[in-house]
Structure formats: C-alpha cells, structure tokens
C-alpha cells in the first residue's frame, strides 16, 4: 500500500511529462487517452523494478518513450499550418507565451518521431549523457543529432 502511494505521488508530481510527451505523438484525442492509459499501465508494471538509484523523471521518460514508440498507432495526419511565422514572437505577455507553446507544439509534431523524442528530452532539461542513455546512442551522436534537429526546428518555426 505504501508502495502504491509512493508510485501515485511520484506520477502525480511528474504527470506533465507524460501529458506533454503523449501530446507530441497522439493523432487525436482518443489516441491520446489510449496512449496515456497504456503508458501509466506500463509504468505501474515496471514500478517494482524502480530502485531509486536513477532520477524518477529519467525512469519515467524511458518507459514513456519505450511505450509510445513501440505502440501500434494510428497514422498521423501532418497538419501544415499556414502563417506560423505570423504568430507573435515570444515576450513576457502570457498570451504570447501560449502562442509560442502552440507554435513549438505544431513544429515539433512535424519532426520525425525519434527527433521529437530527443528534442523533448533536451527541452525537459536532460543533458546529452542522460539522453544518450535513454535513447541508446552515444552522447556525441546526441549532440550531432540535436544540432541538426534544432536547425530543422528553426526552419519549421520560420518557413511556414
């Protein structure tokens, strides 16, 4: 019971990670619900193996990505929004910050699925070594790929 409480508490504290990550991959609202449910189930199944020697957020990220990227999913309709560049740029105005988040969300969804995974970890604040460990490639490779992904993201944010 104490273990269950601990699990629930940690997931509640980190639920935005799951929510944000699933939002980057799900094709629609129904798939989002299915993916969130499946991710939570896989986390609960894997919970006895969590020893606490790694950060919970790293452990959670690994299971989320392993679940999302190995789940059979509906084909995603790539949404190309005209006028992304016409949205206001970042400022301290909360409504503009919301616009920036939406622009970023749309742009990220046009990246490949693995690029999305690495960029989301990077933006979540993980360093190259942590990303490398979760993804399964070298830290140098992560650096090279992130450089390329950021260039592509800049193109997506500006060129539409």
């Amino acid at each position: 019971m104490a273990e269950e409480e601990r699990f629930l508490q940690l997931v509640r504290e980190h639920q935005r990670i799951i929510h944000r990550l699933v939002g980057l991959y799900a094709a629609d609202k129904d798939e989002r619900k299915d993916l969130e449910q499946e991710t939570l189930m896989q986390c609960w199944k894997a919970w006895p193996g969590f020893r606490g020697d790694a950060k919970f957020s790293t452990w959670l990220y690994r299971i989320c990505l392993n679940t999302i990227l190995t789940q059979k999913r509906r084909p995603q309709v790539v949404q190309r929004h005209d006028g992304l560049d016409q949205l206001p740029s970042a400022s301290d105005d909360p409504s503009h910050r919301q616009d920036d988040s939406e622009r970023l969300h749309r742009a990220m969804r046009q990246l490949s699925e693995t690029d999305r995974a690495m960029l989301s970890m990077h933006l979540e604040g993980f360093d190259h070594a942590e990303i490398a460990e979760v993804i399964g490639i070298t830290a140098n490779n992560v650096g090279v790929k992130l450089h390329r992904i950021k260039n592509r993201l800049a193109e997506l944010l500006q060129a539409h």
Partner: protein, 201 residues
C-alpha cells in the same frame, strides 16, 4: 523564442491522467500494447494446437488405414513440435515494456520478437498443411468411395488431383498466413524499422 519556456507551457492541463491512475493501479484497464496482443495470440494458438493434437491422437486410434495413419502421424509430430516451439517462445516473451532497456534496444527487441512469431507461424503453415491436406484428402476419399487408401489413390486422376491440391493449397495457405501476419503487424514493423534506422543513422 525561448524554446524551453515554450516547451514547459505546452499541454499544461493534466487531462484525464488523474482519473486514470486509480484504474491503472487496480488493473481495471486491458493493455492494448502489441506485445500483449502477440502474447495473447500465441496463447490462443497454443491452446488450439493442443486441441488439434489431442484430436489427432484420438484419430490415430480410430483410423485403421496405415497410409492415413502415417500422414496424420507426421502431422502429429509437427503439432508436437509447434507446441514445444510455441511454449519456448511464450517463456521468452516479456510482455511488459522494459524500464531498463534503451529506446533503441527496446524497439529492436520488440521488432525481433514479432518477426520470430511470424516465422513460427509460417514454418507451422509449411510443415502442417501438406500432411493435413494429404491425410484429409485420402481419408475423405476413402470414406466417399468405400475403397482402401491404396486403391483410392490408384484410381485414375486421384493422384493428380491430390498433387494439384497440395501444390495449390500449401503455397496458398502459406501466403495467406504471411499476408495475415503482415496485415496485423506489417505497418507496425515498418514503423519500428524506420525508427530504428533513424536512430542508427
């Protein structure tokens, strides 16, 4: 644009996660993961193979004809092999998504597991169908004509018809098995392969 701040601002509403948590820890939701489905399919296959094997065993005591007995005997051996192979595959099957494997290793593991399952299905199709067709055809012919197996098979055209049945039905069943596997897992396998390729590039 401050990317990190924009990222933190994405999807701030927690959605239905909170309401799902209780159902998840109390096992109220069925898993929809391909590994779970594959595991379920493998268990169902095993149960059917056991049922068919028991049925074949019973037939061996009923059929007096040595030729049909021989054909069904070979079929029985294939069924027994399929049971052993299926159980071995089932034991090596980890349904849960790994919390220790990297994304690349986990995708490769699941890709390999699905391919292995498909190969088992194809091999069973190739091993089982020729003998079940030959045995069933001969047994049915004997029952219909009232002849013994050898006399029935010596009837003009019967051998040719049997050969045509085997030559047409075995590849047909094999390709239907492959097609069904690809229909269920083909797109998923391609997606996994593509993601693995992207990470390795």
């Amino acid at each position: 644009m401050d990317l990190q701040r924009a990222y933190q601002g994405m999807d701030t509403a927690p959605g239905e996660l909170e309401t799902m948590l209780d159902g998840v820890v109390h096992g109220r939701y069925p898993s929809d993961h391909p590994m779970t489905k594959l595991h379920r399919a493998l268990r169902i296959n095993l149960v059917w193979t056991v049922v068919i094997t028991v049925g074949l065993l019973a037939l061996l005591f009923i059929i007096p004809e040595p030729l049909v007995l021989g054909l069904f005997g070979v079929l029985l051996l294939f069924c027994l092999w399929a049971i052993v192979d299926g159980m071995r595959l089932l034991r090596s099957f980890d349904v849960a998504v790994s919390s220790s494997n990297s994304v690349l290793v986990e995708m490769q593991r699941q890709h390999d597991m699905i391919c292995r399952w498909m190969r088992v299905q194809e091999r069973v199709a190739l091993g089982v169908y020729p003998f079940s067709i030959a045995g069933g055809f001969t047994w049915g012919g004997m029952a219909g004509s009232g002849l013994d197996a050898l006399s029935f098979l010596r009837t003009p055209a019967v051998g040719v018809v049997l050969a045509i049945c085997i030559l047409v039905l075995v590849p047909l069943c094999y390709f239907v098995t492959r097609w069904l596997s690809k229909l269920v897992f083909g797109r998923h396998l391609s997606a996994l392969q593509q993601r693995i390729g992207e990470l390795r590039a």
